[in-house]
Symmetry: C2
Subunit: 298 residues, 2 copies
């Protein structure tokens, strides 16, 4: 971590789970002076201030942004472009802007379109942490500890801006990885966006059955874990799915192909084929689990 | 629970997670005298004995079964018919037989075919408890506490046999529910067998991608929970899927239809439609969670 990181003024736009946890972690690290919150509703800003997540809230973007070292945008990705447009006229020449959105190509395109000269001081980021809970009440200083944050800087992104955002995430306890925005969106379509879509789809399908009450009555622990992510925020995940819709659609197509293959095995009574799919899946998952458990013990 | 339940001799065929936990729970309840294990391999029986899960192991089915009050069959459902055939000639006139298989119509058909007059003393059962771990080492006396066990007796099943098996499960701390074998298999195709198949399919599909190593590197907590059941036993789940293949295929068809609908929404950029699916899913899941958490607090 950069020993020099000191943010006199941090602006957090969207003081929910992610923005709030970022603020709390930086406060706890002692690297931030004042945290100013910007948000959609007065009530949520008041709540964040009461919780000590932010030091003050601002109605006026110009006043909030004056002299800011860093602006963190932490809202559903569908709103990031709109907020970027609102803050763009008020950014100081030295202010670095970053985000925490779950998709990156759409955010990069929006930033490039609206930030003008400040575009090179925009550092796209995505912390790989979260929970199905949301709001400032769910924020906690250790949310990012030991987790990865992906930064998808463009070739023209200012190196000092990248260094500042990297240092901020490291101060939160995160491990920073670099990746292109395109690769990011492909990877997360497969390992995050698709599983969320599949979990929502299963619960939705069962809830629409005539015997739904009986079905849920007998659903047990495996179902509970499988569908945990179907308790995620619908608006946030609608935005993510649409922002990354081409890559998500491709991942969904591949998965539907896999299900078609398994349906054929079932119809044919292909015991060896089914066992091979299941055994390969278990081996891959257990190897992955062993790796991450080794990393967690480090 | 019947205050009269006393099993002088319990035979457990298949001393793994389920059979072993059943034995441990009954031992702890003080309702069983001697527990005799039957199994595929000497090593696993020796291990179960060393762990105190069973009191003795038997090579010879006739000796094991002589004078048994209850025989519990706890093995992958694909083997239940074979084991029923092996024990049938050695059953005493008073011995009750039950099973713990995850599918019921196939087990009922096998029992009816091979048990002869003893068929009316066969009580099909399914404890709704488990874990991705397997083997006698994973067995524990509290596995069934507060969980449901479904009993799918046929109209001709002996009422005293049903009462004995019900009392045994209640002694394990389980809540016993009655259901027809057909309804059981339809419900569990939807809430258990399908989710397992979907989780295995996702991990298998990702593991086959050229960038699989990168994909798994960025998979996080949501993926971990979603795929927990893909670490389940491949042979056991192959058997379940094939034993219940018609109902599972129908559930899979419905789910593939749901995915097709969502794919069309994604292609059309139907934000309202996607949000509606996600919001309805979250509402249904959260209502279910609230109900089971209320039950757990009772």
């Amino acid at each position: 971590m950069s020993p020099d990181l000191k943010l006199a003024k941090l602006v957090v736009a969207g003081v929910g789970l992610i923005g709030g946890s970022f603020a709390l972690a930086l406060k706890q690290s002692g690297r931030v002076g004042r945290v100013v919150g910007l948000g959609r509703t007065r009530a949520s800003l008041e709540r964040a201030r009461a919780l000590g997540v932010i030091d003050e809230s601002a109605d006026d973007a110009a006043a909030a942004l004056a002299g800011a070292d860093l602006v963190m945008l932490a809202m559903p990705v569908g709103q990031t472009g709109v907020v970027l447009g609102r803050i763009a006229p008020h950014l100081d020449a030295g202010t670095v802007v970053t985000d925490a959105g779950s998709t990156k190509q759409d955010v990069v395109a929006a930033a490039r379109a609206v930030l003008g000269a400040a575009w090179t001081r925009f550092v796209p980021g995505h912390p790989i942490a979260g929970a199905e809970a949301s709001g400032a009440d769910a924020a906690r200083a250790d949310l990012f500890r030991g987790r990865k944050t992906v930064i998808t800087a463009a070739p023209e992104t200012d190196a000092r801006a990248v260094a500042l955002v990297t240092a901020a995430w490291e101060a939160c306890g995160a491990e920073v990885r670099a990746m292109s925005a395109a690769e990011h969106d492909e990877v997360f379509a497969a390992v995050s966006h698709l599983p969320h879509l599949l979990a929502f789809a299963l619960v939705h399908e069962l809830a629409g059955q005539p015997n739904a009450a009986t079905l849920f009555e007998y659903a047990a622990g495996g179902f509970r874990d499988f569908t945990r992510i179907a308790s995620s925020h619908p608006e946030m995940w609608r935005d993510i799915c649409l922002a990354n819709r081409e890559r998500l659609a491709a991942a969904l197509d591949r998965y539907r192909g896999e299900l078609g293959e398994i349906a054929r095995m079932l119809a044919a009574g292909d015991a060896a084929g089914i066992e091979r799919v299941f055994a390969e899946a278990r081996a891959a998952r257990n190897a992955w689990l062993a790796r991450i458990e080794t990393e967690e013990r480090k």
